[in-house]
Each structure stands twice: as C-alpha cells, then as structure tokens.
Subunit: 331 residues, 2 copies
C-alpha cells in the first residue's frame, strides 16, 4: 500500500542535493537509528546532510555510527528535502522544526498512527514494529547498499522498539529482517549490550531504589513506584538514569497498569504511565494532566512535592482504571 | 555434519513404541521446551511417552503445553528409546537416570560441547543457539508437523537460551527459525510475558534488595551482590525467586565478572558466577569449590554464614580474575 509513497520519497531523495533529517524529542533507538541510517545512506550518495535531534543523543545511543555528527539545532534553512522519522506530530521534533519546514519537501516516515500527520509525502505503516522496518524498505526501493553501519542503526531501531522482541508488534517479518541485517554486519548482542547493559552504577542503584519503593494496589493490577528528589541527590543520579525502570515494574505478575513518579526537580514530578489493557487509554489520562503519548504508554508532569503527586496521580489512576473497564463493559 | 545422526534418531523414534524423555536438573526453558516439544510430537505419532524432570517444572514454565504431564521420576523401565535434551552429562539428569539407562537406545541432543558425552546416538551442534534449534531439525527429518504447541515449546527454548536474542549465540538462522515458529502459531510476546514478566511481588522485592546490596570492585570489573537468610525470611521469598537477578547485575557498564551469593538456608550459601571474558573460566573456579558449570556461567555452594561466604568468595574471585588475565597474557 505504501509502495507509491516509497517510490516518491526515493525519487525526491535521489534528486536532492541537501537533506535535513530530524528525530523526535526524548529520542529513542528507533528515531535515532532511522535518522543515522538515512545519514549514512545519503552521505554515501554524495548528499549534504544535516541530522538534528533537539534533545541530543542519550549516552546509551552514542555507539550508533555517525552519532557524533548529530546537532541539536541548526541555523541553516532551505534544504531540498527534510525527513522526519518516527513521529507524526510536528511539535514532537522541537527546535528542528524551523529547519524542517523551510525545506522544499517534507517526508514523514512513521509506524505510529497519528491523526493529522504532516508532510508532503507521508509513509505510514502501523503494522511495522519499528520505523526502521519502513526505512529498510525505502533503501530497497532506492537500491541503497546496506552497509554494516546502516544495518547496525536499523537493527537498533528494531531491538529497542520491540523491547528485545518481546512486544506484540513483533511479526515474522521483524525476525526475517533482523536475520538480513545481521548478515549485513549488525550484531544483536553488541547492540543489546550497549543499550541494555551499559547502565551507570548510579542508574542501577536508582533501579534498586525504585523497586524498593514498589507498591501494588487493586489486587495487584496497579503497580507503581517513585523516586524522590532526595533519592536522585543521594545516588548522584539524573532523570536519564531512570530509563527502563518502568519496564522492570512490568515484570510483576498480574500487573495491568504501571506508573513511575520521579521528582526530577524539587516540586516538579514527571509521571510515566503504561497499560497492558487496550481499554485503559493512557494517552487520554495523560491529556487530562496536560501531557500526551500513546494508548499504552504516556507521560505528563505534576507540580508539587512527591507526596502530593503520589496521592493525586494514584487516585486518578485508580479512578481511570475503574471507569475505563466498566464503561467498555457497558459498550 | 549431523544429518546422519538426525536420520538415525528419526528412524529409532519412528520405530519405537515407548519413549522416555529427560530434562536436566535445575531445568530451564530450553531443556523443558525440547522435551515437551518431543512429547507433543511423539504422542501425535501414537507413542507411549513418559517425560521426566527430576527437579520438576518451575512455575514460570508451567504455561508450556503438556507441562502437567511431566513427572519427577518413574518406576517404569525398559523403554524402547530414551531422549535426553540439553546436557551431555548423565549426572545432570538426576533421578531420571535409571529410567533413561534402562532404555534399549539412548539419544542425546545438545548444543553444549561436553567431553565424554553419552548416548548411543549423539546429536551435538555447538553452533545452535538452543537445543530447540536441533530438535526442530530432527522434526523436519522426521516429517513431523509443527503444531502451535510444538512451536511454542521450541520458541521458548530459543527465547530463554538467547536471553531474548541478546547473547552472542544468536545467528541469522535463530531469527529465521523464530519467524517460522511464529507462523506455526508461537507468540514471542506471550512467551516473554510468561517467562520474564510473571515475577511474584516477593521476587521483585527481592530483586530490589539484591540491587540495593550491589558492590563494585576492581574498578567496576567485578560486580556482586548478596541476599541473606534474613532477606529471604523478611520478604517471604524462596531461592526460586532469585531467578534472573544475576542478569540484572550484568547491566552495570564495564562489568566483567558477576557474582550473586544467597544464603538459602542458615549457614549454607549458594553462589552463582558469570564471566563476560572467555579467559576468566568460571567452571574451573567453581570446581575448586566443588561446583561446576560452563566457562561463562557456573555455580557452587559455600558452608558458613553470609559474611564469611562474602569474604571467602570475593577474595577468590579477585585472585582468579587477576591470575586468569595475567596468565593468558603470558601465553
């Protein structure tokens, strides 16, 4: 279904002299893997390429080939083509927006379903486990050789967006593409080590602290934890060190909704929420708090100390779980 | 290279009327996945099958189809064929030994390299990521249909023995077989949820406790932790709840050797050790303490309280790391 868009994007990129690439805010392995794979491919074709990530490159993704070239913003304008990877929301590309929208043509490649997606060429494929799967298809249409660097970037996108092949988005095609990328020079064990086994000592200690604080409510269906500003200070840790903690909370048998509250600054609490039940829509809950996200994974901020935030958020979650499941039973 | 052995095993199993299957002690997802896949296949061919696991079936593997039929021992003797999966050491099958060695023919299927492996037919393929990969090949030779139950058992073997595709044993063939098994009805997300996301609350709390106790030595190369008898009692946890904790210690950046000490009974400490450096042979260290295992993963017992054990084991590890790396530099 997306063959025509892939061909159009291929033609535009082949003809372009200058290209700007943009990842989304709070970048993950898929958005960075995609822009860096494109960077390698387009530089290989002799294009002038600027790669933007408004929030920079988190330490665990600095092993990605070409990541040193990523800029947080640029004054340059008037690129022939802009490519945005892994989001359909222009506000999610942050400061990169001006450079992107000054380009003559904007291509958006994404595996999320977003209403009102932007871009002159929109390549959306919700069935893909990662945007990296779609970028691979684009390279096939463009007849770009899959170098070891490109293979590593794309496999990183797949590995991180499937949580090491554990999420429901994995398909036989995901496994087959992983085999192909391995043959092209990517190493799943090296990627997994960089992304999942390179935690700082502080970050591991912080994980222990979060697990120590773990609480279970509603007969074990709601599992949550918190990290106070004191915990961050005591363990010399930052919010970047909290990456992956919420995945650990998932490990509790019978958990349906997960929440992690962290007082990143005194009186300012960041809340991440996850659901394993399609009926309990986390994006809609997050919107009530001025945040956003996906149905099964969302986030928002709460003003106030950690104790206030705990009370407010857990109460809201309990009510939301109750309403969501009883409403849909009536429906 | 193993085609001849596979054909021989296929012929023996097709001709047999009764078969006994045996997993190894302290069974994991690969050994159980293999015997249960064989159980389903052979029952499908009308054979009388008895499946043995001397240490039973741990709770996280009870979702495996047919696991309710697994016995810890049997008085029956004189089976036509015995199949042992995932170990080359007869002592590793425990109480199942007598039934296995009373069979007319013993087949051993394994992806480990073991000196003096046993069995009349030995199917060893060290390149396979899991014994499940070899069992799949046997089914192809036998022309056994891959039912959803068989696919689930085999994919569980692959997923657990590769730590969700993160270990170095993963090959393109591992990914391609995973795709095939998915198409045959296995679900990687369901398997991962059962195996990795079904921890009891006690077990998650215990993980938090272990992480809280984490220590780093030798510039971060040696990372270790412990669980005291008091911790077990306080959290109402058992040794089964410690499953997977050592994998969490791996997450510390720069760690080379990992150790987890747990005082399972007062005055009796079980030690698990892991190495990421081929030169630091954990099996040989474990042997010094009367234990055993593989080069990169081994275990042993220490008599005494947790404090004594800590001192004794960490000192031995420090010395072993030092000697192993300096010896091989000279070699």
């Amino acid at each position: 279904m997306i063959r025509r868009q892939l061909q159009e994007a291929s033609r535009l990129l082949r003809e372009a002299k200058s290209v700007v690439l943009a990842s989304h805010l709070n970048p993950d392995g898929d958005t960075l893997g995609c822009v860096l794979a494109l960077q390698a491919a387009l530089e290989g074709l002799g294009k002038r390429v600027v790669t933007l990530s408004s929030d920079g490159v988190p330490e665990i993704y600095r092993f990605l080939p070409g990541s040193v070239k990523v800029l947080s913003c640029t004054e340059q304008r008037g690129f022939d083509v802009a490519v945005v990877c892994d989001t359909g929301m222009p506000e999610r590309i942050g400061k990169a927006r001006d450079a992107v929208f000054s380009a003559r043509v904007v291509i958006d490649i994404d595996h999320h379903v977003t209403e009102g997606a932007f871009g002159d060429v929109r390549i959306q494929q919700p069935k893909a486990a990662a945007t990296a799967e779609i970028v691979y298809r684009l390279f096939k249409v463009m007849d770009v050789p899959i170098t070891p660097a490109i293979a590593t970037c794309l496999l990183t996108g797949i590995i991180t967006d499937t949580g090491l092949y554990r999420y429901m988005n994995v398909s036989p095609a995901t496994f087959r593409l992983s085999a192909t990328l391995m043959e092209a020079g990517a190493s799943p064990s090296e990627i997994a080590e960089e992304v999942f086994e390179s935690r700082s000592f502080a970050s591991v200690k912080l994980l222990g602290r979060a697990i120590e604080h773990i609480q279970s409510e509603d007969g074990g269906r709601l599992v949550w934890s918190y990290i106070s500003y004191n915990d961050f200070q005591e363990l010399c840790a930052t919010d970047e060190d909290t990456e992956g903690i919420i995945t650990q909370l998932r490990a509790v048998r019978g958990s349906v909704v997960l929440a992690l509250l962290r007082e990143v600054k005194p009186g300012r609490v960041r809340v991440s929420v996850r659901s394993r039940d399609e009926r309990i829509d986390m994006a809609r809950l997050a919107e009530k708090f001025g945040g956003g996200g996906h149905r099964l994974a969302a986030g928002f901020w709460v003003e106030g100390g950690i104790e206030e935030a705990k009370q407010q958020v857990i109460e809201a979650l309990r009510e939301w779980m109750h309403c969501s499941t009883s409403t849909s039973q009536r429906a």
